[in-house]
């Protein structure tokens, strides 16, 4: 990637010692284009959407429609009505899990590497409604075991909720095969695209996935934004979990008429600045090219894995970096992951994440205290990776 792209990111160009940002799996940096779009809302049309007939209100409506269309194109959805604005992946997942009217005796399958944003809603459903939670185990190297998964598919399984790209090790589960097997069983599929959508082309039509949730802040969009995709016919038959203004077309003291999707799932006034900012982020990524972004992530991960070979790091996930997207999760024997992260920050301004990355269940099951996670994106460079490796070399000397 070129310097021109890096110049779009104010944080990468601030004065003083440069920041090496390797925490994009948590939140990415934001380019000026997105920041300007957010400001545009506040400066030019800071009004309500969906209700006011004045010019500013109409402008908001137009921008929201445009933004929804942009997001529809970004994920290859059939209709823009299938695109619901949320505040993050977690909200999208909660909406689906709680709107599907699952009942006692139904079963939900998840993988053993689910983020708490999937695990906890499923656990709660199991406690409150008595649904069965089945967990499909990954292979030892973190790859997906399709055979084991298929063994779990019984008629009771109403939903398969799987993480697309794991935030622990960057491995991308074979969504197409999972969807096919689940559909053959009559089960719906919810894909957690938090770590896949920002890094590769994800086309909901090609995957034939029923639901997809992802976050804007992991793809250069504003904080607290996200998208929930759902096939229109499914959404139309689902009851929302949050109701209020905009979710109904009419109401009496005792009754109400539900709006159609997407409004049905977008209660109250919305984060309009976030919507236009997120659409701008999608436009920005598409302009660079999702293929190019994916290739760059893998190239950096290969370079890092290759050059860190002699350091004796314990890398989580498959040994082939080509299967780990932009995620490089590791441990150094004898050193605590949090300590490594703080030292990287305080020696060379290198921002990484440490701990269990909200997937406590997997770490606890495997008796691993946590890991250091360096997650790369298109604005990272080989020079930054070299500094990261040389700093690790210094830190390793502490053992």
């Amino acid at each position: 990637m070129d310097e021109k792209i890096r110049s779009d990111f104010p944080v990468l160009n601030r004065e003083g010692k440069p920041i090496i940002y390797l925490d994009s799996a948590c939140q990415t940096l934001r380019p000026n284009q997105v920041i300007d779009k957010i400001n545009e809302y506040y400066k030019e049309y800071p009004a309500c959407g969906g209700r006011s007939l004045h010019k500013l209100g109409k402008m908001v409506d137009e921008k929201v429609i445009e933004s929804r269309k942009r997001m529809q194109k970004f994920i290859g959805a059939k209709k823009s009505e299938e695109v619901i604005f949320t505040k993050n992946t977690t909200e999208g997942i909660n909406i689906i899990l709680n709107s599907l009217s699952l009942k006692s005796g139904d079963a939900v399958i998840t993988t053993d590497k689910e983020h708490n944003s999937v695990l906890l809603p499923v656990q709660f459903l199991a406690k409150r409604k008595g649904i069965e939670h089945k967990i499909t185990k990954s292979n030892d190297d973190g790859t997906f075991n399709l055979d084991k998964f298929q063994e779990l598919l019984t008629p009771e399984v109403k939903l398969v909720s799987v993480v697309h790209t794991s935030n622990i090790d960057g491995f991308t589960n074979p969504a197409k095969e999972i969807v096919k097997a689940a559909h053959d069983n009559g089960s719906l599929v919810l894909l957690d695209g938090a770590q896949s959508v920002p890094h590769k082309e994800v086309d909901v039509k090609k995957l034939d996935v029923d639901f997809l949730a992802f976050s804007g802040h992991k793809m250069c969009g504003p904080s607290g934004t996200g998208i929930l995709y759902g096939k229109y016919d499914l959404l139309k038959n689902m009851e929302p979990i949050f109701v209020g203004g905009e979710t109904v077309s009419n109401s009496t003291y005792t009754t109400s008429e539900m709006e159609n999707p997407p409004e049905r799932f977008e209660p109250g006034l919305q984060n309009y600045a976030g919507m236009v900012g997120l659409a701008e982020a999608a436009r920005y990524l598409q302009k660079i090219g999702m293929d190019k972004i994916q290739r760059h992530d893998v190239e950096l991960n290969k370079y890092l894995t290759e050059n860190a070979r002699d350091l004796g790091l314990q890398i989580l996930g498959p040994s082939d970096p080509g299967l780990r997207s932009g995620v490089f999760s590791f441990n150094i024997k004898g050193l605590d992951p949090h300590e490594i992260a703080i030292m990287l920050d305080h020696t060379n301004n290198i921002a990484v994440r440490s701990g269990m990355h909200c997937v406590h269940s997997w770490f606890n099951e495997n008796e691993i205290k946590g890991s250091v996670r360096a997650s790369m994106y298109f604005y990272n460079t080989k020079e930054e990776i070299e500094t990261f490796i040389s700093t690790l070399k210094e830190i390793i000397k502490l053992r």
């Binding site: 703080i342 030292m343 000397k397």
Partner: protein
């Protein structure tokens, strides 16, 4: 734990002057209070302090950084003991001042805090008193100024 207590004391002073250290101070306080009720320090503050100190040293001297990292708990204990000992001496000195008028009642001249005794410690040779120097009562040039 010891690192947290030391950090708490240092940060209590630094927090008076900079908001940056107030966040750290709160973390140290939470860590220490949790430890006092025998809960683990969930902020990981002790390991944070250790890592920050080690990182600073790592940039200057790897051997020293390794030593500090390895013996951080012991080094914290040494600082803690030094701190407690000086605290005891200070308290004892203040008690003596309050009761006897000097922090060292046996040897009042040796106590700079004894009222009437100046803090000048250098020798002032006889007859070498000059103007515009610091006032010094202990070197035989009482009332005059000497080098």
């Amino acid at each position: 734990m010891v690192a947290c207590i030391i950090a708490l004391i240092v940060l209590a002073f630094m927090a008076l002057f900079s908001a940056k250290y107030r966040v750290w101070f709160r973390e140290a306080l939470s860590c220490v209070t949790r430890r006092f009720v025998l809960k683990s320090c969930n902020t990981g503050f002790d390991s944070k302090v250790k890592s920050v100190v080690t990182a600073k040293l790592l940039k200057k001297n790897v051997k020293m950084a390794r030593f500090t990292h390895k013996y951080f708990e012991a080094i914290s204990w040494i600082f803690m003991i030094i701190f407690v000992v000086s605290l005891v001496f200070t308290a004892y000195g203040l008690y003596n001042i309050a009761v006897y008028g000097s922090c060292d009642p046996q040897n009042p001249d040796m106590c700079v805090l004894t009222p009437g005794i100046s803090s000048c410690s250098h020798e002032c040779p006889e007859g070498n008193c000059q103007a515009s120097m610091v006032p010094c009562d202990t070197c035989g040039c009482s009332g005059e100024e000497c080098s």
